[in-house]
């Protein structure tokens, strides 16, 4: 129904646009690696500001439609700027454009995370990834595919126990240190609330990661659509003045030749 009626300009434009939007040269597909922001679905991180989207204008009444959005900077799929965890480090508006465009390495730990919700990605996991898919390139976004995005919108995502403690997998401290020091990683991301497993209540991975020009990505989606190596990501979100991060759309670019 939504697209049942459309004027000539609409159809012609759409048909032609299909020819040239989309994959950049050298890539065969671009995919979303982020969830839609929806207050009815997006799992709230405990203690975060309330997330509301309120319609304030409509085409029928005003000639155009517009919503007001009220949210914390770390709502839904989002990036963290270095100042999120470290005083004196860069806010979102001080990052460079190249900081948001990275080669991607997708480390699949779905089997381990299915066996233990508190699973911490280890150096062994990373070495196994490299044996199969090649060395993680300097500056890469290393993305942990835990399978958690299948739980999005349900209580099993936060996975809180009776005492309220969360149980989600993520990068272990040793693995994060290895990626930063030995591979020069530029981004760590997961399909959970945070780069670290939730058992790391001191957020040691985030604190170590968020220095210089490095960012974190959280609540990612569809990481299984990316190749383990050879893809790129573009992290697209607003850059707020003194911003600690922002909700974003993350684009995954899948290379034409694997």
């Amino acid at each position: 129904m939504r697209r049942a009626f459309r004027g000539l300009t609409g159809w012609r434009g759409r048909a032609r646009a299909a020819a040239a939007g989309g994959p950049l040269p050298g890539f065969r597909e671009v995919v979303f690696l982020s969830h839609v922001n929806d207050p009815a679905v997006t799992p709230p991180f405990p203690g975060d500001p309330e997330f509301r989207i309120t319609p304030v204008r409509s085409v029928a009444a005003d000639g155009f439609a517009l919503n007001e959005v009220r949210q914390g900077e770390h709502t839904g799929s989002h990036y963290d700027a270095p100042c999120h965890f470290n005083e004196g480090e860069a806010s979102a508006d001080l990052l460079d454009a190249a900081d948001f465009v990275r080669r991607a390495a997708v480390v699949d730990v779905r089997r381990q995370a299915a066996a233990s919700a508190d699973y911490e990605i280890s150096v062994d996991d990373l070495r196994r990834h490299e044996r199969r898919h090649g060395k993680i390139p300097a500056g890469a976004a290393v993305l942990g595919l835990t399978g958690w995005s299948a739980r999005w919108g349900t209580p099993a995502y936060a996975n809180a126990d009776a005492a309220g403690a969360l149980h989600q997998p993520g990068f272990g401290v040793d693995a994060a240190r290895w990626l930063l020091d030995e591979r020069g990683a530029g981004v760590l991301g997961t399909d959970t609330f945070s780069p670290e497993a939730s058992a790391d209540t001191g957020f040691r991975v985030s604190s170590m990661l968020l220095r210089g020009n490095r960012i974190a990505l959280s609540n990612l989606a569809a990481l299984d659509r990316m190749p383990p190596a050879g893809g790129w990501i573009v992290v697209g979100g607003p850059r707020n003045a003194a911003g600690t991060g922002a909700p974003c759309t993350v684009f995954g670019l899948i290379p034409a030749r694997p």
Copy 2:
């Protein structure tokens, strides 16, 4: 001062990251084509919801910093989803990833806009662009470089007259229709509040444009850094449920070979 102190991990990570973040294969540079979102600077569009960024957590007091953001979906540099002006057309969450990744044609009308703030980009301007830089490819983002971004943060940006009417340049109706029907444009964007000149108070260009999978871009920046032809853009902003658009970072990809 901001980066005066940093642990070993930070410096090593930064130095190495420089090697692999940044330009995608085939491109020599990635640049921001959008402004920072800053309530102290971002010119408000008349009648839009108030824009506020409020710090609610700090590293000193809470161990991490976080702001709450309250804004309309069309604040600062932003994209418009089709439903912004047309009932029954797609909201932000129904667009495809490829809709946000487009070849770019940058049409320079700075001279004309300097002579008349109400200047409307014409079919003649577009034909002149094509004679010099080649045919605008199907599905392209056609971006009007009016020079208005130099006025960002000042009253000269809105450029209201004594009666409160705005005076900004933009695409004329005939030029927009030609781009959609004859060139299959996928995006129209400007470095002003709106794709149309503000003299078009009926928003006829937006209404015509925002159908199918097409989007508008407003309040763009640094369009003079892009080549007139051969570049690409990636439009990165959140995708809200039933969203009419969102503040975004627009990346400009400058090809290695012009």
